[in-house]
Amino acid sequence: MATAPGALGSSAPRRGDGRLAWLLIAPAVAGFLVFFAWPTVRGVYYSFTSFRILTPPRWTGLANWRELSGDSVFWHSLLVTVYFVALSVVVGVLLSLLIAVVLHRLTRSTVVRGLIILPFLISGVVAALVWQWMLDPQLGIISQLLESLTGVRLLFFGDSDWAIPSLAAVSVWKSMGYNAVLIFAGLQTIPASVYEAGRLDGASGFQMFRRLTVPLLRPILVMVVILTVIGSFQVFDIVSVTTQGGPANASNVLQMYIYEKGFGELDFGYASTMSLALFVLLIAITFTQMRLARANETDLS
């Protein structure tokens, strides 16, 4: 976009820069190669083998992929995961947007912003444990309040219909502060003159939110949605702590199923196949989202 016109003529110092640049990114590149690229390549290889970790992998060609296409538990897990993602993204982004707008209207206090981001700083395992106790059908404070107020007894994590909504609620609670702060930052980039113009044209508060704020926030919102989608697809810690995929596979999200196949049944070949399928799926989803949302363009310029 913005090329410095002076840099074109002098090529010698640029080469020097290049060497320095490589040196500076070398640690990151090394980390990427060792911890991301190499395991990915190995994973691709294992997905075509029968690998039970303590014995060497045996090439089986497309057998794992055929098993995948006929594995009803895998497709069920995919649906469960999509349900979880949909709940987390819709509820999460709406709540974050609401919090950010209210914050923007009411306060500039960094203390409040700091407080809002707190749940994000808690580790997933701790958050899941605390929520599990609060939702416990016997001792949980939320269960007891709910029962004394409405007379309804919910099993939350122990009920097939409520397991995924409960998990999504924990996930939303954890990430909404962080997302709200991101959106809040986006709100601050919108010049006050835009709203002034809107007010002069006689727009109501809601109209300005719909016609001005949301379109101008699009790049940030797209980023938040994409981050939430990817993060939710990878949900594992809170499921592993609370429901372990149960009851009756109702919360058996993909990562949980992959973990169970790999570390439970020692079927690392098939677990690699499923991981790879998830990887491909995530790339496709991200790419489509970027395309649909035209995230690179902003309406501000």
Binding site: S50, R52, I53, L54, T55, R58, V73, L129, Q132, W133, D136, P137, Q138, L139, L155, F157, G158, D159, S160, V241, T242, T243, Q244, G246, P247, A248, N249, N252, E260, F263, G264, E265, L266, D267
Partner: protein, 460 residues
């Protein structure tokens, strides 16, 4: 001996000070052991009570073998097998460990277990001493991979106060019979013991099954991760003559589509529907299966169908008199249940095979089992030790005669070893849960049989 004592004291002190220091000092202590020519044998169990019970064996063993130090470690069963697996992979597994039949095929096929036949022959160790479980620990190659450590079965534990108030005596529990049609005297008692929040009993008019204060019996459907229903539905199905496998050992099919099993599953689901038994997950706390002590102690259930390993704990519940009753008899008077025998297995990667075998074979002797089982935490696999343990427990007010009776009158069925235990559990348990939650109808049974057929074929 002395160096390890001081090492232990030092470690305990360090634990109070800081966790990191512990690791350092712990390392030192084991280093000391090696320096003084002592070999450390690591032994793992998932049972916290047995870890304590076997420590008395370890102390006696160390006295007899001054060159060997035994370190007993316990991990919760939820993490135990994952820990073992990472130990196999990283070459840091314990020299010997308590194992479950469910994992025999997986570990033996991966060559992680040491066949014991050669060692037994060399040291003249015979398996005739065991009354149960020897064949459960034979792999498909015919070799013995584990020594049976204990046996476990089920019983009915009841709140004597509640029974008395309802007009029942211990003798009534001893003669309970059930059938899949109307539940027999078993269901009549369970219904009468169930009380709703207004004090109406389960067999009276106006019983409110949605607000039950005390359930007649604990949940009889799959509880926790136990897809074998060892303490719940299995004794009922077994009393009808149902046997799980098409062959006693290494079956190729589990007969879930047998009408006797179908009717049992249907019946235990009805018990919950009628409000006589809690729904699965109702009393689960923080994801853990409900604990018998809590259920009985809090008066949530009148009868708890539990495992033999709980006998001592339940008999000693403060402020409550718990009685122990036999298994419920089937329509023709048959009582039967599967007796599960955990095994003591040696890791094939051990660096001290002879010392490890010395420890493992000592654990499989009356000299160790008798004092260890006096704690009442398990029923030993050696009959002589069982007698001693029953006597010792009776002195403490714990009645184990029910289990002795089960073993003497041949009510115990062997727990046949089978392949792919982990995969079976993750395939079958959700299907059972779906049936019990009314999400699936009888179509689930042929599917369960089909799944078992697929998974019981041992892989590679």
């Amino acid at each position: 001996m002395k160096s390890s004592r001081t090492g232990r004291v030092r470690r305990a002190a360090a634990l109070l000070a800081s966790l990191e220091l512990t690791a350092v000092l712990g390392g030192c202590a084991s280093g000391d052991g090696a320096g003084s020519g002592r070999t450390t044998i690591n032994w793992w169990t998932w049972d916290d009570k047995q870890a304590v019970a076997y420590q008395s064996c370890a102390d006696a063993f160390e006295k007899a073998h001054p060159g060997i130090h035994v370190r007993i470690t316990q991990y919760n069963s939820a993490d135990y097998f994952t820990k073992l697996l990472s130990g196999f992979v990283s070459d840091t597994a314990p020299d010997a460990f308590m194992n479950s039949v469910q994992y025999l095929q997986q570990y033996a096929s991966l060559k992680q277990l040491m066949p014991l036949d050669g060692l037994m022959k060399k040291t003249g160790y015979g398996t005739k001493r065991f009354s149960v479980g020897v064949d459960d620990w034979k792999y498909t190659d015919g070799k013995q991979y584990g020594l049976p450590m204990d046996w476990a079965s089920a019983a009915l534990y009841y709140n004597t106060g509640m029974l008395k108030k309802a007009g029942y005596s211990a003798a009534d529990v001893d003669h309970l019979k059930w059938n899949p049609d109307d539940g027999g005297s078993f269901e009549r008692m369970v219904a009468h013991l169930t009380v709703d929040r207004d004090g109406v009993r389960g067999d009276e008019k106006g019983f409110d099954k949605r607000h039950v204060k005390t359930y007649g019996i604990s949940s009889m459907v799959a509880v926790g991760n136990d897809f074998n229903g060892l303490t719940t539905w299995r004794p009922l199905a077994s009393s009808l003559g149902w046997r799980i496998g098409n062959k006693p050992n290494w079956p190729t099919e589990f007969r879930y589509d047998d009408p006797r099993l179908v009717r049992t599953f249907d019946y235990v689901r009805k018990l919950t529907d009628k409000g006589f038994a809690p729904a699965p997950g109702q009393f689960a706390s923080a994801g853990n299966a409900p604990d018998g002590g809590q259920l009985l102690g809090s008066g949530k259930v009148a009868i708890y169908s539990g495992g033999s390993w709980e006998a001592a704990t339940l008999a000693k519940l403060p402020g409550l008199k718990v009685g122990t009753g036999p298994l419920v008899a089937g329509p023709d008077g048959t009582r039967a249940t599967v007796s599960n025998a955990n095994g003591n297995t040696i890791w094939s990667g051990t660096r001290h095979l002879d010392e490890t075998w010395a420890w493992v074979s000592y654990m499989g002797s009356a000299a160790c089992q008798t004092p260890a089982s006096r704690t009442g935490t398990f029923l030993p696999s050696i009959p002589a030790a069982t007698d001693a343990s029953v006597k010792a427990m009776a002195a403490q007010g714990v009645d184990l005669r029910v289990f002795l009776q089960q073993s003497r009158t041949h009510q115990l069925l062997p727990n046949s070893p089978y392949a792919n235990g982990t995969a079976l559990q993750s395939a079958l348990l959700p299907l059972m849960q779906q049936f019990f939650a009314h999400q699936r109808s009888a179509s689930v049974f042929p599917q369960m049989t089909e799944e078992s057929r697929k998974l019981l074929r041992p892989t590679d």
